[in-house]
Structure formats: structure tokens, C-alpha cells
């Protein structure tokens, strides 16, 4: 008995088993299953799933009235997420890395939205965007400006949602950059100060090179984060008005879980999955090479 226990206490697969089992069943299998179902027709009720070849893909690429809107929105959203939150986060991090009075409190304020549930952020902003009694309606009326229909205007809604997302995400980039800035060699900064280098030159030649790896990480994380955008869109617009704020993740969900066309929903998921993997694999290879270089 003791010997059996000893053996178990030294078996690597036993250590790995719980995590691997749950991970394989609940994270990897759905990924395989979604790929399978994307070649099938299934409405969630029928006992059988019929194999239909590429029909679901042909449909979403050529017939689906919303797919390309969702695709375009996902691209716009990703582009915006790659530019604004990281940029603002970097600026904030640089500023809050200075010896400023109350900087811990300031950092906390910018980070606070990060820890709030995205669905609560959506609910908050929906109320602030309320065209009759909301925050912006009040402020703009006081300024004598007409109130745009933030969430109701199809040309505006996506950007209104993004502003809420931006408000929430800035702190995330900021914290990562702040951590990266700690790796900047203080002696180098001092040396360049003594050399009389200006702030800009100091930033360009000392700080920037030191935080380049951080920048890559922030961008990749922002990218992945943006592809995941679901809760905030669901809560703010549900993809409306007239599907103008649909995104791939949400459209896949709607097709499967609201319209109960699991095949078409699966095909949309696979498109998004392929995009994600297309980003993830090169990144993983990059970070592995970097790790080996560090060794």
C-alpha cells in the first residue's frame, strides 16, 4: 500500500491528469466539435446531425446577410483595440512612472474599470448613453448640442461600444507597461541625464528599447482580448441596431444558440478560430525563441 502510494506520488502523469483531463474535455474537445459541426446540419433538436460538406461555409461567405458586417466589424474593432488602449496605456504608464504626488491612487483609478465585469460595464454605459435621461444626454443638452443616438445609430453604435471598451481596457495595458518600465535600467537613465539628453532622446534611446518586448506582449494580448469581445457587445447592443454591431463571436453565438442553426454558427466560429490560431502560433514561436535567447 505504501509502495503503491510512493509510486503514485512520483508519477508525472498522475500530477498532470486532473488538469489535462478537464482541459482536454472542456477546452479542446469543444474546439474539435465546433469544427465537426461546421460541416453538418443540426438544429439542436434532431437526434442526427447530417453531413453537408462545405454548405455552411458557402452559405456564410456568399449568402449570410450579416457575416461580412460581423467580419468587418471584427476587423475594425481589432484595429481600434490595437491602437487606442495600448497607446493610451503606454502614455499613462510613462506618466505614472514619474515621481508624482498620489500616483498610487491615480494608478488605482485607471485600473479600477479592469476588474469590473464586462457585462456590468455594458449596463453602466447603456444607462450613460440613454438618449433621454443618461449622462451624455444631460451633458450635451447643457452644452446645447443635439444628442446623437449613441447606441441606436448604425453608423455610430460600434464606436459607442468601443468607447466603453476603451474605458475598461486602458488600465490593463497601463499595468503591463508599468511592469515593463521597471526593467528599464535606472543607471542608464541617470547616465543619459548626466549626458544632458532631453526627455525625448532619453525615451527613444533608453526606455523604448527596454520596453519593446512588453510592447509585443501588450499588442498580442490586446489582439486576443479584442477577438474575444462578446460580453460588452451583448450587453450594450446585442449586435443591433439592425445587426450593425455584430461581431464574429457574437454572431456565431446567435446563429447557434438563438436561431439554433449549429452548423452555420459552427462555421462562423471556425473562421474566428482560424484567425486566432493564425496569430497565436507565430506568437508562441516568437516567445519560445525569445526564452531560448534569454537562456
Amino acid at each position: 500500500m505504501t509502495r503503491l502510494f510512493d509510486r503514485m506520488a512520483n508519477a508525472p502523469w498522475l500530477f498532470l491528469a486532473p488538469a489535462l483531463a478537464v482541459y482536454a474535455v472542456f477546452a479542446i474537445w469543444p474546439m474539435i466539435d465546433v469544427t465537426l459541426v461546421s460541416f453538418q446540419r443540426w438544429n439542436g433538436i434532431d437526434p442526427t446531425r447530417d453531413f453537408v460538406g462545405l454548405a455552411n461555409y458557402t452559405y456564410i461567405f456568399t449568402q449570410d446577410p450579416v457575416f461580412w458586417t460581423a467580419f468587418r466589424n471584427t476587423l475594425i474593432w481589432t484595429a481600434l483595440s490595437l491602437v487606442f488602449p495600448p497607446l493610451a496605456g503606454l502614455l499613462l504608464a510613462l506618466a505614472l512612472n514619474q515621481p508624482l504626488f498620489g500616483r498610487a491612487t491615480l494608478r488605482a483609478v485607471f485600473y479600477l474599470p479592469v476588474i469590473i465585469a464586462p457585462i456590468a460595464v455594458a449596463t453602466m454605459w447603456r444607462w450613460m448613453y440613454d438618449p433621454f435621461f443618461g449622462l451624455f444626454a444631460q451633458l450635451l443638452t447643457n452644452l446645447g448640442i443635439g444628442i446623437p443616438d449613441f447606441l441606436g445609430d448604425p453608423d455610430l453604435a460600434l464606436y459607442s461600444v468601443f468607447i466603453a471598451y476603451f474605458w475598461q481596457q486602458v488600465g490593463f495595458s497601463m499595468v503591463l507597461f508599468l511592469a515593463g518600465l521597471q526593467s528599464v535600467d535606472a543607471s542608464l537613465v541617470e547616465a543619459s541625464q548626466i549626458d544632458g539628453a532631453g526627455r525625448w532622446n532619453r525615451f527613444k534611446h533608453v526606455t523604448l528599447p527596454a520596453i519593446t518586448p512588453t510592447m509585443t506582449i501588450v499588442l498580442v494580448l490586446s489582439l486576443i482580448q479584442s477577438l474575444k469581445a462578446f460580453d460588452i457587445v451583448y450587453g450594450l447592443t446585442g449586435g443591433g441596431p439592425s445587426q450593425s454591431t455584430q461581431m464574429l463571436a457574437l454572431w456565431a453565438f446567435s446563429q447557434s444558440m438563438q436561431v439554433f442553426d449549429f452548423g452555420r454558427g459552427g462555421a462562423i466560429s471556425v473562421v474566428l478560430l482560424v484567425i486566432t490560431v493564425g496569430v497565436v502560433i507565430p506568437y508562441l514561436r516568437w516567445s519560445q525563441r525569445r526564452e531560448e535567447q534569454l537562456k
Binding site: 500530477f15 444607462w127 453565438f253
Partner: protein
Amino acid sequence: MKQMIAATRRDPVLMGLWLSLLVFALIWFAPFVFIVFTSLKSSPEIMTSGAFTPPGALVTQNYATAWNRGGFDHAFFNSVFVTVIKVPLGLMIAALSAYALARMKNRWNKLVLLFIVFGTMIPFQVMLAPLFTLVNSLGLVDTYLGLILPYLAFGIPYQIFILHSFFKSVPKELSEAALIDGASHFTTFRRIFLPITLPVMAALLILDFVATWNEFAMALVILQDADKWTLPLGLMSFQGQFSNEYGQLNAAIVMTVLPAVLVYLIFQRYFVSGLTSGAVKG
């Protein structure tokens, strides 16, 4: 602190920077003020008073009404229950795996690690429907277990990744001495590695608490029964039903958000270290 004040005063650029940061911080914080103020106003007051006018008479009744109408007693219990089970359990099995990958001989280690790190990057939002189909086929829809298992699956990869790089950095001598003395890997893990991991574990614990507490999409597909809903689902449903009861709606927001905010304020420093230890230094 005094030095900081002095530095700020000396440098006009820093002074300007500080002022503009202050303005931005106020803007960033303003939504919270607006939400809390609204949550304490009556409906007529909301429609007539200014956004940042403090509430006249505090209508705390909004909280009680929202609590009852939204079934927040159930939602609160469910959120707490799921979080309390899932977070420590997930960390435990993640730590076991991370130890095995970092310290136990196995020629598959590298591949397994890659396989798991891959999971940190894949958005589960893509797989909501198959996840639902899976949980349903196991008969676990509307059960805590049905929610906890997928939560574990999508939570552990990141934790394994972080803990693995931490275990790797522990000096070899420390564990080898124990192993030579005849201790098993499990004992080494429990007696030597767990204690020194506590700070990292604490950081991961807090991060995972917030992530679990806030999770919405998976709960949306797995929990169909209102009695099993977690707080985010309760809030969403409340908004759908009572979007015209602004005071109560905002009270509901505050109640949903408050626990996470409190945890954040108490354990602030762990957040930053938890977020950054893996991503930046690793």
C-alpha cells in the same frame, strides 16, 4: 512622499503632467459617481436632477427592491458558491501540473506545456455552442458542476503557465536535496514548493477570483434556470426587465460590482504582480 511632492513642485513639466493626469483620472472615475448617485435617487429625481447632483434624500429602498425583484439572493449565493469551489480547486490542480512539468522527468513535458499554453490564447467565446452541447450531453446543464468544469478548463492554462515558469526558477538544490533524502515528488511539492509559491498563488487567486466572479458568456449558455444564475446573468436579466427603473438598475449594478471592487482595493498589490509576473518577466 515628501520627495515626490518636492519633485513635482520643482519641475514645471511634471506639474503640468500631474494636472492633466488628475483631469483624466476624474473623467475615468466619473461613471462610478454617476452610477452610485443614480442608485440612490428616486425615478422623478433622476429625470429632473443633474447627473452629478448628489441625491437629495437617499433612496436606499432601490437596493432592497432590486435585490428582491432581481432574485439577487440566489445569484449572490451561486456566484459565491461557484467561485469558492472553482478558484482554489483550479489553482491546486494547476500547481500540481506545473510542478510535474517543471520538475518531473517526462519526455513529453515540452509538448504538454505547449499544448496547455495554446489554451491560454484560444477564446472560449468561439466555442459557446459546442460547450453547451457537451455540458448538455453530460446532463450537467443548470448544475454548478456543469459550470465549474468548463471554468476550470479555461482557467488553468494561464495558471500552469505562470506557475511553471516560477517553479523553473526555483534553485535545483532545494528540491534535489529533498528527493535524495527519499522524499517523493508529492512530498517535495507539498513541503517545499507550495510554501515558497504562496505569494504567486495569492496573486493568481485574486486574479482568478475576479475572472470567475465576472464571467458571463459561459454562464449564459450553461445556466438556463434562473435559480442557478450567477450575478452577471442576474444583472443582465434585470436590465432586460426593468430598464426603465433607473434607480433600481443602478443599485443592481453597484451590488454586482462591489465585491470585486472591494477585493481589488484590499489586495491591490497582488493584482499587478499577478498580471505581470507571467506576461512580462516570463
